[in-house]
Each structure stands twice: as structure tokens, then as C-alpha cells.
Symmetry: C2
Subunit: 315 residues, 2 copies
């Protein structure tokens, strides 16, 4: 068995791909468009074609490959079967390794894309050195991925680690996208932070940079860095909700580290300072040793994690 692996991250508009060596270094990185016509039937053949081309270009044979890892936007079970299909690329349920390895005869492992990204952060990113970790993605929504003893926690229906919908506020009147009210995602996502900001600004007339221009997670944290008091209050509310939510997660799975990623995490270390005290306030003390770290791989976490599924287990 070889020492190289390809990592593939199938998204709604592009498929990201990378060639990795055993040490976890990315040797090459590229992408191809996701062709969604006819229930996305050409996506896997396109991936295979692109990998075979790269193998030729780099003079890599099947024997040089440890395998191919692939992350997809849907729930995947332990055997690599896409349980419920992947709506936004048109895929019906099927076993991914079986189909892909028919094109390239090497071991194939498949995972949900968020879980693959979590795995990537553990392998080569903000969670390096840990094997019990929860990745928290603060983007349009709040997603997550849980790693237990170095393995992805898939869950019964592939929804393990979907921590964005933990109920966190009894007094919420607006509905979350999931139809419940008071989900973590309503306060800790990029849209949630903008919502907290609008609510805070409506409370009084206190001057703030945020009263001019566009409201977003980015403008809020930029204002925090500029010392804006109203923005700091908004960030404290964000930290309260996220800290409370992560405290619940810590009590359930007792991780070593939370790795915070997604667009909101671009605010940097300052973010963690708002989360930490609230996490410590609510956490069950024996689980309070959990650390907070920032994700490091950005949009490449998915290809790292997919390749890591192959190379990490090789040792």
C-alpha cells in the first residue's frame, strides 16, 4: 500500500481536491465544477477522471496510493453509504466507496462533509494532538462534528454533532430554520449575531459604530476591536449563548478541545475570550478542562479530513 492519498470535498458548486503525503502535507490542490445535471450522475466519474489525470501527471500508480477519502453534503454511515441522499447535488442513497473504487481500484472512505472537516482539523489543524474533539462551525448556520477516540461520531441517522439545534433559550419568539424556537444557531451563527445586534440596537439610542452601514458578524467584531461598547455587549450575548451550548456538549461527550471554525471565526482569538467565561460558568466541573482553539484549515479542512480518513488510520 502506498503513502499518498487524495482528499475530495464535494460541494454544491465545486469539488475541491488535494493530493497528500503520509505526513499530512498537501502536495497539490485544485478544483473542478460540480455538474449537477441528471441527479449529479457525472460527479463521481468526473472526480475519478480528474484524479486519474493527476496520477498520470505526477507519475503516481494505484500501488503508490493508500486510498481516496471523500466528503459529501449528506449523512453517511460507517460503511460509506449515503443514507438519505444529498439533496443539493441530486444524489440518491448509494454506497460511495463501492462506486468510486470501480474507477480507481484503491481503498475509498466516505464521510459527511462537516464531519470530514472536523476530522481534518484534528489531523492537521486546530485540533492537532487531540483525539477527543468537537469542531464547531459558525457560518450561515451552526454546524459541528464530533471526534471520539480519533473516530467520527456519525450517529444513528448521520446527524451526530448537529449541535446548532440544541435548545438554549426559552423566551425566543422567532422560529429557527428547523421550526423549533431558541436553538443555539439563532444566536451563534453569522446571521444569529446580526440578529442579536439588531435587537441590541433597538433597545436604546446609545451611540455605536454599528448604527451606520451594514450589520454583520464581521462588522460587530470589527467594532468590538475598535472598543465600541454596544458591540462588546452584543459579543457578550453571543458568548453567553455559545458558552452555554458548548457547556452542554462538553457534559455529554467530555471532549479535550473545541475547535471553532467557519466565517465568524475569522474574528480571531478575541472571539474565544467571549465564549470561555460563559462556558466555564455552565460546564459540569469535571468537564471544565476542555480547551478552546481556532480552526486553522479554513475551506481546506474538508480535503484534509477526507485524505486523513485514509492516512491517519494507516499508522
Amino acid at each position: 500500500m502506498g503513502n499518498y492519498a487524495f482528499g475530495v470535498d464535494v460541494g454544491g458548486t465545486t469539488v475541491k481536491m488535494g493530493l497528500f503525503d503520509e505526513a499530512g502535507r498537501v502536495l497539490d490542490k485544485w478544483e473542478i465544477p460540480t455538474v449537477k445535471d441528471n441527479d449529479g450522475e457525472s460527479i463521481l466519474p468526473d472526480v475519478a477522471k480528474s484524479i486519474l489525470k493527476k496520477m498520470k501527471e505526477k507519475d503516481i500508480s494505484e500501488d503508490d496510493l493508500a486510498g481516496i477519502g471523500i466528503g459529501v453534503p449528506g449523512a453517511v454511515d460507517g460503511e460509506g453509504t449515503l443514507i438519505g441522499g444529498a439533496v443539493n447535488i441530486g444524489w440518491k442513497p448509494f454506497n460511495i466507496p463501492k462506486v468510486l473504487s470501480a474507477y480507481i481500484n484503491v481503498p475509498v472512505k466516505a464521510a459527511n462533509d462537516a464531519n470530514a472537516a472536523a476530522f481534518g482539523e484534528m489531523w492537521q489543524g486546530g485540533g492537532r494532538g487531540y483525539s477527543n474533539m468537537v469542531a464547531v462551525t459558525l457560518g450561515t448556520g451552526v454546524g459541528g462534528g464530533i471526534i471520539v477516540n480519533g473516530n467520527i461520531l456519525t450517529g444513528a441517522t448521520g446527524a451526530g454533532g448537529e449541535i446548532g439545534h440544541i435548545h438554549i433559550e426559552d423566551n425566543e419568539t422567532e422560529e429557527c430554520g428547523c421550526k423549533n424556537k431558541g436553538c443555539l444557531e439563532q444566536y451563534a451563527s453569522a446571521t444569529g449575531i446580526a440578529r442579536l445586534a439588531r435587537r441590541r440596537l433597538a433597545e436604546d439610542d446609545k451611540p455605536s459604530i454599528l448604527r451606520e452601514g451594514h450589520l454583520s458578524a464581521k462588522t460587530v467584531f470589527d467594532a468590538v476591536k475598535a472598543g465600541d461598547e454596544v458591540a462588546i455587549q452584543i459579543a457578550e450575548r453571543f458568548g453567553h449563548y455559545l458558552g452555554k451550548g458548548l457547556a452542554a456538549v462538553a457534559g455529554v461527550v467530555n471532549p479535550e478541545v473545541f475547535v471553532i471554525g467557519g466565517g465568524v471565526s475569522k474574528a480571531g482569538e478575541i472571539l474565544l475570550g467571549f465564549i470561555e467565561p460563559e462556558l466555564q460558568k455552565y460546564v459540569f466541573p469535571p468537564c471544565g478542562s476542555v480547551k478552546l482553539a481556532l480552526a486553522e484549515l479554513g475551506n481546506d479542512a474538508g480535503i484534509y479530513g477526507a485524505a486523513g480518513l485514509i492516512l491517519q488510520n494507516k499508522k
Copy 2:
């Protein structure tokens, strides 16, 4: 390797032991006192002596044994090391399999007692047929054990599954044993239910059987069965809190089933009827397929699970 296993459950006053066959049947069951003198130094030698005596009595050799499983009242890591000791039996940290297998030369596996009990319920109890399960113990406190893909989720510090201390109520004024306020345990344990009952009775003068005699989880659910309206309201509040807490757990680990045990669960099926609607109200819909079941093994769950650690993995 043989087909029998001993399951050992070390408690504060007695050590329970059982001899099991591969099919999960208990062939014999007995207990010995837990001698806690001198930091509990004679406990493991006593266990070994008792097992050797039983082996002689049943004409079972080391070759007939698949191994010995043991549950202990402390955090145990994946290698069977008692990480932080076990305060209530005087044990300091040490590797349990190493010590016990010096007396009887067979494979030994150790686990936290609550986790072993959870494993037992999966192997031969209310969680039979599932491999992703959360055991919830409603006793003096609220404990838990999480099984992921058939394996115990230990966590970074052995506190995985300690779901009793999820924060669930912002308006609580009394402290939980863990020093936080508003923990699940404050409402869903036996003492928590009695507390909910006292609070409800103090609200008005509505007649209730519960106004006479001793208040406990048992008297509350007996009154529920007798159709007492006040008791039903108390049970609804209990169901609200536990359903809300389990919804959070379901969103994190996405189990197939919750197995409800502990003294409170003796109320029977009626209990589940109060939990189910609240669980469904708060759960992230993709995790809503989770089932509720009652534990079946009672105080024997620990010896079953300990033996199961050996015999389940044998297949």
C-alpha cells in the same frame, strides 16, 4: 479462548459478581463485602479469590474463560486505568487489568460502573439490538452512559455521559451538588422530583393525595397512577425538564434509543409518556427518531455490562 466470562461490579458496600456464558446468560450470581480498610487494598485480591473459588466449584479453568470484566466507581480510560482514583473505596489511580490479571491470567477489561451498566443494558437489557444508545439513570442523582457504535464513550477525563449536569433552567436559585444552578439533575432525579413536588404543593391549596405523608418520586408516580391532578402536573414538569435535556443529548450524539433506568424508572411505562412529547418538542427533527425504553436489568446491569465487555467483543 473460552466461552465464559465473569462480570464484576465494585460498589461501596458490596462487590457483585456473576458468571456468564457467551449467549449472555447469567449462570451464577453472588456478592462479597467491599473491604475498604487501607485504601481498599484487599478488594481486588478478594475479588480474585472469590472468582478462583467459583472456577474450582464449577470446574472452569483459565482456558475456559474469555476473560473478566470489572466496573468500578471512578473514571476509567480506554486502557482500563482508573484515572483519578475511586474516592469512596479508597483507591488511588492504577491500571486495573494489569493488577487483576496477575491473579488470574486471562484478559481483563475495566470500565466506569455507570458506563458498564449502560453497556449491560445494550448487551442484554432495554437497549438490546442497538449499538448507539444513551443510558439515563434516574436515582439520587442523574447519571448516564453513552454507547457509540457498540463502544463506551469514555471522554477526555472519563466524564463522558454525565448528562445530569446539563444546564436546563435559567431561573433556578438553588445550587446543584456540582455548584452550578439549573442542572437537569435538580429536576429529574428522585430528589429533584420530590423538590418539584414540594414547590408545586406550595403554589396553592388544591387538594392532592400528596399533601399527606412522605413526598418522594415513588409517591408522586403512585399518585399519578391514581389520577391525582396535582401529581400529574408535577410529572409533566419532570417530563418537560427531562425531555428538554434528552433533546439536547439527542442533538449531540444522535442515538437510536434512550434507556431509562434507576430507582425512578420503577414507575414503569407511564414515565415515558411524560418525557416523549417534551423530547419531541425540543429535539432537532433529524434526531427525532430516537426511541425511549425502560432499563431491564436493574441492579444487575453492572455485572452484565462488565461481562459483556469481554463477551460482546469476542464475536
